[in-house]
């Protein structure tokens, strides 16, 4: 529990930053919400700031919304879960959309990366940011009648951290931060997380931003399809593999709207599983489906033009990581110079044009991108990196490959990854770098043996493209991919300097310090270029004009708790 002094100091600090123009009000809102200030407290913080709010990122469906209508079934369309949708292990869009209809997180993640209390009512850190105490919401029950209490939170976390199995996704966010046994139930409605080190980003890791951390009952036996027990607004009714899933309203749901009416408004949901986006687009146009949670701009021109549909666009933080495995040749001997050489071959504007119709945010190989993370203030100045063949050739020579070289790029046939691979291949040619594309099926790309992380192509191959859904902060990405002990690191980058700077970064809430340290981290990543980040994907959600109030950031979520249909 943070001391009152600490909390006041922090509040003053945030207000000061806004007043000095170092931070926008919205950014204050985000940071304050992460810290655990209540909505009222945030309100008074904002009120205490002078000046006007120039930040106008209103939630897309907020303006001009009619009064909610009870009833109706909402149909959504998206890909089928790739494997059995076990919430502990899923990482694909289909699986996540499916289970998040009846499971909930401690904290909800908003589009602008601010946090909103969900199953946790409030939370607060201690002065050293290594113990976080969460107060749970009262009166919440699972749909099997059992109460939601601190024991369930502990059980969920321990299940995710289980050394024998557990969740790769959760471990990628909690690695080096939270160990088994670190989570304690203080009483029925209080949970204490004892971290291994100070971690300012911790609340993000128990929010929707950590998609495996949905809360399950303490005695959950596994087999989600047989035991779809959750606290969410809907309940799983029917599941036809590869075809559809239907949900019906949870009559005992704890949520209420601002007027005190019981949520959800809808009677039920239907998730129709269709693999490829073009088929989904066509279904949307035919009027058979109410909502497409992930609309890919390339190829969806017809949806934008359709008079019956509304496409909500918002900046996303999902990326395609192009990783250079530093443990394998040629990256091992070529080093940073070689990695940078490849990076300077990319025409990122052209890639953005081709794959995202120009709508994605151009990335320059670091996670600290102020446009993608406009809700966070600790963004250093962006580092530019445009296509420069002279630079590339120079770096190639520096790396010891003056006559060019052959490299192999392993990619899964999934999303737009094959196209990105072909663009990279074509753009590397003028520099004398010959890229061979090794394309495999999604299953093969993610297949692995007993010692999974030592054998699966996406971790082990010399150069790969790996897709990542959104992450709420650059720190979360860095922890998952760039730290020396990161479980999901495809680059196997080992930089002690980066690690120590990162730990410093996570141990302070001072915005100026964070900006400074963030700058250092960004520069380190930029100079070493263990991975390329060509873009932060453009997010869009398409729905009928008669559908309102679907929430949820990124492409993984389709939060229908307060959604309704007027027709």
């Amino acid at each position: 529990m943070a001391s009152d002094q600490y909390t006041r100091d922090y509040a003053d600090h945030l207000i000061e930053q806004v007043n000095k123009g170092q931070m926008t009000r919205r950014q204050l809102l985000v940071r304050a919400s992460v810290f655990g200030f209540s909505a009222t407290a945030i309100g008074s913080l904002l009120a205490a700031c002078g000046g006007s709010d120039t930040d106008t990122s209103a939630s897309p469906s907020a303006t001009g919304m009619p009064a909610p209508v009870m009833g109706g079934t909402l149909t959504m369309i998206g890909p089928a879960p790739i494997t059995d949708p076990d919430p502990v292990t899923i990482y694909d869009q289909g699986g996540i959309i499916l289970v998040t209809q009846f499971l909930e997180f401690l904290i909800d993640l908003n589009n602008d990366n601010s946090l909103k209390p969900k199953l946790a009512e409030s939370w607060t850190p201690n002065d050293t940011l290594d113990v976080w105490t969460f107060k749970l919401r009262q009166g919440v029950t699972f749909n099997d009648g059992s109460p939601f209490e601190a024991e369930d939170v502990v059980a969920t976390v321990e299940r995710l951290l289980d050394p024998e199995g557990g969740s790769g996704g959760a471990k990628s966010q909690w690695g080096g931060v939270l160990d088994p046994g670190g989570t304690k139930a203080i009483d029925a409605s209080t949970v204490e997380f004892n971290l291994l080190k100070p971690y300012a980003d911790f609340p993000f890791t128990v929010s929707g931003g950590n998609y495996n951390s949905a809360m399950l009952p303490r005695n959950w036996p596994g087999e989600i399809l047989d035991n779809p027990v959750g606290t969410g607004p809907f309940m799983l009714d029917q599941y036809v593999p590869k075809q559809k899933a239907t949900f019906k309203k949870n009559p005992a749901y704890w949520g209420k709207d601002s007027s005190g009416n019981a949520l959800p408004y809808l009677d039920g949901l239907e998730y129709v599983m269709v693999e490829d986006n073009s088929a989904q687009n066509l279904q949307m146009q035919s009027g058979a489906i109410d909502c497409q949670p992930q609309t890919i701009p390339q190829g969806a021109q017809a949806l934008f033009a359709d008079p019956n549909l509304r496409v909500d666009e918002y900046p996303g933080t999902g990326i395609r990581e192009v990783a250079f495995n530093q443990n394998k040749e040629p990256w091992k001997s070529g080093g940073a110079a070689l990695c940078q050489a490849v990076a300077y071959c990319l025409d990122r504007v052209a890639i953005n044009e081709a794959l995202w119709a120009g709508k994605s945010i151009i990335g320059t190989d670091t996670f600290w991108n102020s446009e993608a993370y406009s809700g966070l203030n600790d963004m250093p100045a962006d580092l530019p990196r445009a296509q420069d063949y002279d630079m590339a050739k120079q770096l190639l020579a520096d790396a010891g490959f003056p006559d060019g070289l052959e490299i192999e790029l392993t990619v899964a046939k999934y999303l737009e990854n094959p196209q990105l691979a072909q663009l990279i291949q074509d753009q590397c040619k003028p520099a004398g770098i010959n890229v061979t594309i090794n394309q495999m099926s999604y299953t093969e790309f993610y297949a692995g043996g007993e010692d999974y992380y030592a054998t699966t192509p996406w971790i082990v191959a010399p150069m790969t493209i790996v897709e990542w859904g959104s992450r709420p902060s650059p720190g979360i990405y860095a922890a998952a991919m760039l730290l020396p002990d990161a479980v999901w690191s495809s680059s196997h980058w080992n930089s002690p300097e980066f690690l120590s700077t990162f730990n410093e970064y996570q141990s302070t809430l001072d915005e100026t310090e964070r900006k400074d340290l963030g700058g250092k981290l960004s520069q380190l990543q930029f100079d070493a270029t263990p991975i390329m980040v060509p873009y932060f994907i453009a997010q869009a959600r398409t729905q009928k004009k008669t559908v309102f109030n679907i929430q949820g950031p990124g492409s993984f979520y389709c939060d229908c708790t307060a959604a309704f249909k007027t027709a």
Binding site: K242, A279, Q283, T443, G449, E450, P457
Partner: protein, 315 residues
Amino acid sequence: MLRLIGRRLLLMLPTLILASILIFALAEVLPGDVGRSILGQYASEADVAALNRELGADRPLVVRYAVWAGSFVTGDWGESPILEIPVRPLVMEALGNSLLLAGFALVLIVPISIVLGVFSGLRRDSWMDRTITVSTLSMTVIPEFVSGVVLLYVFAVWLKWLPVSALPPDGSPFYDRLYYLILPAIPLMFLELGYIARMARVGTVQVLAMPYIRTAVLKGVPRSRVIFGHVLRNAMVPTVTVIGSQVGWLIGGLVVVETLFAYPGIGKLMVDAAQSSDVPLLEASVLMVAVIYMLANLIADIVVALLNPRIRKGG
């Protein structure tokens, strides 16, 4: 007749067994080993060996085959390691969907092709006749995904006369399902359209040359009825023969059409299983396809025998 059926069924059995051996061999033996094909290229030898031991893949081939075949026959088709659900309900549902699509195509094709054939026969050597003959015969050899994609574009995207997907929204009445199947069924029909139409055309030409036509017409029977009656009677056997001989390509076409239209049939299930190296699902779906294939051939032969008294009497 019954003796014929019985004998054929009996003959089917050894072929089926040999086919199952072939499928099993390809799936479990040729790739080197099961463990490797599940774990991928980077897995260590130790891992592969461990998985093989766990799957029982280190037992002698004959034993493994016997176990698999035995459980298959008793209805236990195993579980998909990828989807983690039992294989049998998945395969049976997909089979049902495919049979609907194929059946629909076959039902449509007979009247359409015969009408086309008679039409071109009546206007023999006219440009209409030549166009019909040439185009229907050309469509026979064009791959289904080519004709399918062109049809999709023309009828669903450009003219918007037909729906783009192969499945109607949930809860639609049955005839809606058929309406949505029209576009996917057309490429399947192209397989036989040419031959059956040509046969009908030949039959029409023959009939027109016969003197008894004039007699029948003079007696007051409308010409078209005479022609259709005669042509139909004579075309039945060759039609069924053609369809029977093309079943293999029809099944192949089913795979392509289902993939193109994202229709949840056995063809698409098989392709998905193949692409995700889902061995139990792949084995089960391929084996069921083999069974359907043999049954279809058998049924075609039986129908031919029934329609052709010469063969029927011959036993």
